[in-house]
């Protein structure tokens, strides 16, 4: 086994383990945090595939925005951060069956698949993430939208805290 393969197995285990914890844990906030771990693991897989840009987008969009949104929603709306109902319900047999069929189908497709016939066009030379970062802080590129977005988030944050805080105090 090469180092890459070891690393892959390591990250795959983390992703699968935390993904299972997402659906089995009873505490909502823990589920959200396990989701963050799983999403970070996927970002690591992208980075291993030399897709630095995708890895960064994965962290910024999924970890940075979506998971944080989950945590915000849970913290702002629930008094008790517990899910009291049973994790499994009567449909578990059917659900398991459907999942198995899909898993089998995907397995069949992937084993018979001959690989990519058409490759993505080559990206221009250089570090894409660095270029993106530069574009976000260059006045001639996207500095203005970037800065305004931060003010926008400030206004949204004040609004969210205000609305949720008042509703809870009653």
């Amino acid at each position: 086994m090469t180092t890459m393969q070891v690393l892959f197995l390591f990250f795959a285990a983390i992703i699968l383990g935390s993904a299972i914890k997402v659906v089995t844990t009873k505490k909502m906030i823990h589920a959200a945090f396990w989701l963050v771990v799983a999403l970070f693991g996927i970002a690591a897989l992208y980075a291993m595939l030399n897709a630095g840009f995708l890895a960064m987008v994965q962290i910024v969009v999924y970890v940075g925005a979506i998971a944080i949104l989950f945590i915000f929603a849970v913290m702002l709306t629930r008094k008790e951060l517990l899910d009291k109902g049973a994790a499994l319900n009567n449909n578990k047999t059917i659900a398991a069956l459907i999942s198995l069929v899909f898993f089998g189908g995907l397995l069949l497709l992937l084993t018979n698949w001959s690989g990519f016939t058409k490759m993505a066009p080559d990206l221009p030379e250089g570090d894409m993430v660095a270029k993106l970062g530069e574009a976000l802080v260059t006045p001639n590129a996207y500095l203005l939208p970037f800065e305004v977005a931060s003010v926008l988030l400030l206004a949204a944050l004040i609004g969210a805290v205000y609305v949720a805080n008042e509703a809870r105090s009653e």
Partner: protein, 479 residues
């Protein structure tokens, strides 16, 4: 960032800094003395207005074409800052009375105005979208700010969901336009369309989606459903700000986008806009007749007025009339903003803490008990109808003139007919005030009185010297 970049956005930068500082300063202001926050917020708006006016007549392109400072943006920003000052003036006593006085109220108004001003200066679709969200999100929160009141919460969530939905339309439209032309900058989009490099169908679809998104914001038919509920449910001081500010910003962005990014497809879009304008005028005015609640009536009236302003867009197809159409449109926005703030100030004077006093019947007897207030209300109702001697009439005259010059006779006819219909429900308020017996209870609060008094005087006096105001509006050209 060079000096031109900085200068082009100077008023916005100052106002943003001011609102952020206001949030911190507000922490040290005692809960009983939140009036100080209001005064500080107003001072920030006044300072920004001074800076904006000092930039009159200059044209500066900033941030590599993302924003522009020109006559149009100076005019619209001044109007927006005026709306902000009026919004604070009507809110000052009202939110104290309703028990929703918080320092955040004023900061959110300032943040919303920052978004509106950026919208008037935007020259790139990305900036347009971010400015749209920047102005909307504080408005969603303001609509729901009285969250002990179910109606206010309903207004907030309705406005938020439909606003987010319409924002989605705008993004989709921006993406299609970007796909067709390879750029989000207005100048490059226009150039790409003019040279025929762009896929016309994609551009048209993108422009239509952007139009739908802004149609929601300004309350044009068939995207107007949220307006009455949101206007009714939101605290009245918020409604007043929403009615004027959001409309001014939405229309100024529409004008800028369609005049500078899509001038070559204006011919294709003008008939669509004409039909939307006609429908908006008809639906707004006809639905207003049946309303018993004054806030709902004014909501439908605001829909109708959006229709009148949309008429200006029909004239866009003729390049020779483009500048006239823009001047007529922003002149009408000035007339509407002044009249509507005056009307809302009177509505707030009659509104009681428990949300009573909002039926049109509650105005019975106002002519006897409060002659001055009734006189001011009469002036506003006449102005909204378009009867002399008021600013509303002058605004309509300029609009109808461009529409007729653009050969849209049928549209002008619908405009006149719907104005006649609107006379029924506006004049009914006057009849109830003077002809019916009643003992209306009013709140005397100096800033409210100042607002409706000053707006009534402005409505009449400016209508006597329309030429100079129109000359200023005509100077407000896009570069």
């Amino acid at each position: 960032m060079n000096q031109a970049d900085f200068y082009s956005l100077l008023p916005i930068i100052v106002l943003t800094t001011w609102s952020a500082l206001l949030l911190i300063v507000d922490l040290f202001i005692d809960d009983k003395k939140k009036g100080i926050t209001a005064v500080l917020a107003a001072a920030g708006l006044a300072l920004t207005m001074g800076l904006t006016l000092s930039q009159t007549g200059q044209t500066v392109i900033g941030f590599n074409g993302m924003v522009i400072l020109d006559g149009f943006s100076t005019f619209v920003n001044t109007l927006l800052l005026f709306s902000g000052l009026m919004a604070i003036s009507v809110a000052y006593g009202y939110i104290k009375r309703r028990g929703i006085e918080r320092g955040e109220y004023y900061s959110l108004i300032l943040f919303s105005i920052v978004g509106m001003m950026l919208m008037a200066q935007a020259r790139d679709l990305i900036v347009v979208f971010i400015a749209l969200e920047m102005l909307s999100i504080p408005l969603y929160v303001l609509a729901a700010i009285d969250n002990s009141n179910a109606k206010s919460e309903e207004a907030g969530i309705k406005y938020f969901l439909l606003g987010a939905f319409s924002g989605g339309f705008v993004v989709y439209g921006v993406a299609l336009v970007f796909g067709a032309t390879g750029s989000t900058a207005f100048a490059e989009i226009a150039a790409s369309i003019a040279t025929g490099n762009a896929e016309t169908l994609l551009v048209l679809a993108g422009a239509a989606l952007i139009l739908v998104g802004f149609g929601f914001k300004v309350g044009a038919v068939p995207f107007q459903m949220w307006t009455p509920d949101v206007y009714e449910g939101a605290p009245t001081s918020v409604t007043a700000f929403m009615a004027a500010g959001a409309k001014i910003a939405g229309f100024s962005a529409l004008m800028r986008v369609f005049a500078t990014a899509f001038p070559d497809i204006a011919v294709d879009i003008a008939p669509v806009l004409a039909v939307i304008a006609a429908l908006t005028m008809i639906v707004g005015n006809v639905a207003a007749i049946a309303q018993k609640n004054i806030k709902r009536m004014l909501a439908y009236s605001s829909i109708a007025h959006a229709g009148y302003i949309l008429m200006a867009f029909a004239a866009f197809a003729n390049p020779a009339l483009r500048d006239d159409a823009i001047s007529a449109g922003i002149f009408y926005l000035v007339a509407y903003a002044i009249t509507s703030f005056g009307t809302w100030a009177i509505v707030i004077s009659l509104e009681k803490e428990d949300g009573k006093g909002l039926a049109i019947e509650d105005y019975a007897g106002l002519g006897r008990t409060k002659p001055l207030m009734a006189a001011a209300m009469t002036i506003f109702m006449l102005s909204l109808t378009g009867i002399p001697p008021t600013l509303g009439l002058i605004g309509k005259l300029y609009l109808f003139r461009v529409v007729v010059e653009a050969q849209f006779m049928w549209l002008a006819l619908i405009g006149i007919l719907t104005s006649l219909i609107s006379a029924y429900y506006y004049l009914r308020v006057i009849v109830i005030m003077y002809m019916k017996e009643g003992e209306p209870e009013t709140v005397s609060e100096s800033w409210l009185t100042f607002t409706w008094g000053a707006m009534a005087v402005l409505t009449v006096v400016l209508s006597l010297i329309p030429a100079s105001l129109f000359a200023w509006a005509s100077g407000a050209l896009m570069k």
